[in-house]
Symmetry: C2
Subunit: 250 residues, 2 copies
DNA sequence: ATGTTTAATTAGCGCTCGATCAGAAATTGG
DNA sequence: CCAATTTCTGATCGAGCGCTAATTAAACAT
């Protein structure tokens, strides 16, 4: 029976006449600098795990890399170490601090800022790899996932709601703290946009070609609709009892 | 070494004095009617696969059921058959046709209908099992998933947009067909609500206790914000060229 | 050329997976 | 009470898993 080791990637045509080199180029063993090979493995692992999930097998990964399976273990002591590295590579180094400045740049209207932000944000993270790795690791209950969501909440959503209040003459969060439903409105905007990515890369159904237009419409709808709700929520917060019942009940 | 078969579930205390029955009740082999045992297996499989994904192992599933692993294969010829059955059980039989009537019941305001609908809808499908099975099967690329999304689009979202137009004196879809961005607005509402479930059961972060209140706020914001955007989109559709450029580009 | 270094392969171990099957034990019909 | 029926278990198979050890060979310095 065949040996239990990973094959090389593409099978070259079997070596032929006497004139050809003893070992054809396609099957030739290639030595790469340590860092370069490591990067190759990580990048292919991202693609691979994004596609099949983290239960994907190291032998198949090696096959796609055109290397043997044990070689992976010379670079990453365990499969779990490789997965950890994939998280680092996918999550970190895709966050752009400029986004935070953009959101509070009051020389633009808030609607412009939100549109620009979500265009930039989706451009950075709306990729097959990012979205699927994020969901796979979420299902696994990985910690890095929760930290990322906290980042979104604190750096993005709270900024949006602060700016939304400012643009509508409402009190700063230092005066009247954000209530749960108010922050939830921002989660709603965020979710409505992220759900596009879920439909595309998790459910793999067709989505509009013009994502920028959809983002613009979503933001426009949010800017039209949210301020009045925020005002109501703040108002209810000041006079709690009966007003709250009227608003959330029937 | 221990035999490779699934253990019984809970280990009873070892049988004691002479008066006790030879085999204690807790270890006693239980024969159930075929249909009853089958139902047990399916229900536990739903919980189990929702938790760990479809790569979860039949031995662990058997352990949770308190039966041996081969017994599962007397009811389902292959693991894939069991998974298929799980899909059926989870997806079908949770759709309520009454929802569709509710959405077009014009004796209520559209805002009331939307709030009622999403309260009923989330009550039916916002469960640990449903949401996670849905995402797991989405990642696997299962067909039933895509069919479900088409159901949402045709039975729910198109109805919502038809009613939204009617409530705002805009033309029926038979006169002016839905554009992609217009339907996308409805996806936005849907996504903003479904994203709550994703945060809770996929990412497992804390979400507001008062989901009904959040739904009400989300619907209110949608009703405040969406009609103006829909009107704009329909208007652009009539005078396509320059107006569209102005609206989506910068 | 030749020796040294080390990337890469070959071979295979121990274990776990889904699935099979003969036989044991619980229920049912007489 | 016994025989027939059917659920359920115990033992095990072959394939495939992560991972390791021994060996081969490419690249580089001399």
């Amino acid at each position: 029976m065949a040996p239990d080791t990973g094959n090389r990637g593409v099978e070259g045509t079997e070596e032929g006449g006497a004139g050809s080199p003893r070992v054809p180029e396609s099957r030739r063993r290639k030595r790469l600098p340590r860092s370069e090979r490591e990067q190759m493995i990580v990048e292919e692992a991202i693609r691979f795990f994004a596609e099949v999930g983290f239960e994907g097998q190291t032998r198949e990964l090696a096959r796609r890399l055109g290397i043997t399976q044990p070689l992976i273990f010379r670079y990453f002591p365990t499969k779990e170490d490789l997965i950890e590295r994939v998280y680092q590579e996918v999550y970190l180094s895709r966050w752009n601090p400029w986004w935070e400045e953009l959101l509070e740049d009051r020389s633009l209207t808030l609607e412009e800022r939100l549109t620009d932000f979500y265009r930039a944000y989706t451009k950075a993270i709306f990729t097959y790899e990012w979205v699927r790795i994020f969901v796979y690791s979420g299902l696994k209950g990985v910690n890095i996932n929760k930290r990322y969501l906290a980042l979104i909440r604190d750096r993005v959503l709270k900024r949006i709601m602060r700016e939304l209040r400012a643009a509508n003459g409402l009190p700063e969060p230092e005066k009247v703290a954000f209530s749960e439903p108010e922050l939830e409105l921002a989660w709603g905007l965020h979710g409505s946009i992220f759900y596009i990515a879920i439909r595309k890369w998790i459910y793999e159904v067709a989505i509009p070609s013009d994502i920028e237009g959809v983002i613009a419409a979503e933001v426009e709808s949010f800017m039209n609709g949210a301020p009045k709700v925020v005002a109501r929520l703040i108002d209810e917060h000041r006079r709690p009892a009966s007003a709250a019942r009227k608003a959330t009940g029937r």
